[in-house]
Amino acid sequence: MAVTAPSPVSEQTGSTTGRPRRPRRGRGSRRRRGLLAAAGAVVALVFVAPYLIMLVGSFKTRSEILRVPPTYLPETWHPSNYVDMWSTPETPLPYNLVSTIVISVCATLLVLCVAVPAAYYTARFRFPGRLLFLLLVLVTQMLQPAVLAAGLFREFVTLGIHDTWLAMILVNGAFNLSFAVWIMHSFFASVPKELDEAAMIDGASRLQILRRITAPLVWPGVVTAIIFTFVNCWNEFAASLVILTTAENQPLSVALTKFVGQYESAWQYVFGVSIVGIVPVVVLFALIEKRLVAGLTAGAVK
């Protein structure tokens, strides 16, 4: 990939050694930073607002949540919703959380293991069928999972692994491959090849190069791929709905629907479970975001 103009990049690598990120220029900074922070607060509010409705709703009683006209804040707060929802008759929520975690973590690992070599090689080497391979990977993303669910169920019944986590790990792995390959491909490609060549002449193996030189430089891309894959697995619904039939095996996304009844829904639980589903992902992101920034500063190549 030659999209990245070569000159600035080599300039970058040429001068990165010991590159200090700070100090930044101090020009007009305080007022400007204040304005930026204020704008940041507005942006944050916009993105959080719907989930505040969700959070507040999860503390209301079943009757208050459908009051006409609605109340902005609960008349009395019911944190007990967050206790009760783990032992409702509708769904075994602790199991559902475990299922979600196991499926998402394993599928993300699977995607990484499969996508990193493919992305690396396609970015680094020309070979016949390279574009075809990338397109084929992309095609998997174009298929609508809900449409494929019937076929997937049939396939896994034949293989005898329907209603298992393994089936969903494979499904999630396959359907998230394309983004992971493509994003990492674009990041691998933006790392100057001269680095590899220099290292290769030093006698390093291709894997050592990948690990020691390329990987740190492409951290932001890898992290983006990890988050993307993990979040998609975490929220996958269409295939889980039909493939996982035992209540204990089902992920949170499917468990949520159990609170929607024929004539009335337990909105307070729907909202509460959603919050429970969001928090781990945000925590994960908070942890990994440091790496994303670190990837930048640690990206200096010795």
Partner: protein, 415 residues
């Protein structure tokens, strides 16, 4: 050359080994072979209320205690999803052994079901009320086992009606329109009549009016949508919308949220079902409401009845005895009533009707039940017709009623 750990290659290899050794979580409980050599029957049911799963679990526990060697594998799905799940399973040849759902005729036409007489004892079969059995029969064979029934009745807000100077709930269309008009003119921020023509259950609201005009969805053979009676009903519905006496945007209002608004006292009249009573008790016990037969064109009593069914799939003849044992157990009076009474529906069996605790509570519904008419769900084309009603009939809010009826008729004919 090779760094032993933490290389990508090792990770790939590990990942693949991990998957290759059959890392299968939570395999227990999945259907199929079970160790004890007994029989496992799969039961797939929809979620009626938040108690549904617990009720079935209790019934299953009682059954398994009496029938060692048979275990029942329960799967509960929400109404939103159960059709997708069933379709996928049937398509893959993995139908449940027993299914609880509204319509059975599609499965019966595909020759997937056992006739009822093969999977319940004659006593159990005789115990069903005849009207429900008629509704569960296809080409002379009973396939469906009526599970629960409900009928529709008019819920009205007594306070609001009194405020509008109306003492009796309406029983004819003219009265319905005039009462709703008076309420709308009250300036009390209350809508006269709640008309839910959104996709959730538009076919039910429509049926109440078409039945009320003497219309029917079938002539015995084919589905009849575009008939003079049905047109008259839709025109009347449209006249109520045009008069502005319904809630805003009736064409896109779903049933559940509409009833929520009725319960909050902001809609004066709406057609409800037996479970509506429990919802009012829970959410707004102070609501001063009454229940009356649904208004019809000239007051002739008729309403919509709905029955859901159990049905047994012809998967494996070895399971037939187990299925029969379970169904007979389920329909025994005590067990059956433990389910129907708790879910707040009307029983479909004679012994259930005699024993139900809810006789008083549901007296208005039990009164209208003899005049109830059902969807023509034994007609194969009904499922698609119902879908067309759900997705299209709301258009009468802005379109010509006759054109909408014709569009739905076309869908029915294509099914």
């Amino acid at each position: 050359m090779r760094t032993p750990v933490r290389t990508t290659a090792a990770a790939v290899a590990m990942g693949l080994t991990l998957t290759a050794c059959g890392f299968s979580g939570g395999d227990e409980g999945s259907s199929g072979d079970d160790a004890g050599g007994g029989t496992t029957i799969d039961l797939l049911v929809p979620q009626y209320s938040d108690q549904t799963k617990a009720l079935w679990q209790e019934i299953i526990a009682g059954f398994e205690e009496q029938n060692s060697g048979i275990s029942v594998n329960l799967e509960v799905q929400s109404w939103d999803n159960i059709n997708d799940v069933v379709r996928t399973k049937v398509q893959a040849g993995e139908a449940p052994d027993i299914l609880n759902i509204d319509a059975f005729s599609g499965f019966a036409k595909d020759d997937l079901l056992y006739p009822a007489e093969e999977v319940v004892s004659p006593e159990t079969l005789d115990d069903f009320q005849q009207s429900f059995i008629d509704n569960a029969t296809l080409d002379g064979t009973v396939y469906g086992l009526p599970l629960i029934a409900s009928a529709r009745a008019l819920f009205y807000n007594k306070d609001v009606l009194a405020q509008a100077g109306v003492s009796e709930p309406p029983s004819t269309w003219d009265q319905l329109l005039s009462t709703a008009t008076k309420i709308s003119e009250l300036d009390a921020d209350v809508y006269g009549y709640g008309m839910p023509l959104g996709s959730e259950e538009a076919q039910a609201e429509t049926s109440i009016f078409t039945f009320g005009a003497g219309g029917a969805w079938t002539d015995g053979d084919s589905i009849t949508v575009d008939t003079p009676e049905n047109l008259e009903a839709l025109k009347f519905m449209k006249s109520m919308i045009d008069a502005g006496v319904t809630q805003p945007d009736p064409g896109a209002t779903d049933r559940t949220p509409m009833l929520d608004v009725f319960i909050q006292g902001k809609i004066a009249m709406a057609v409800g079902l037996p479970p509506t009573i429990g919802q009012i008790e829970e959410r707004n016990p102070d609501l001063n409401y009454g229940i009356a037969p649904v208004p019809t064109k000239d007051g002739e009593p008729v309403t919509l009845g709905v029955a859901d069914h159990l049905m047994a799939f012809r998967n494996d003849d070895d399971k037939k005895d187990a299925i029969r044992a379970f169904l007979d157990h389920f329909y025994s009076q005590d067990v059956y009533l433990s389910f129907v009474d708790a879910e707040g529906f009307l029983p479909t069996t004679k012994s259930g009707a005699d024993g139900t605790e809810n006789a008083d509570r549901f007296s208005e519904f039990l009164e209208v039940l003899p005049n109830a008419r059902f969807y023509p769900s034994t007609n194969e084309a009904w499922a698609a017709t119902q879908g067309a009603l759900q997705t299209l009939v709301g258009q009468i809010q802005s379109k010509d009623a006759a054109a909408v009826l014709k569009q739905i008729q076309d869908k029915a004919d294509a099914a």
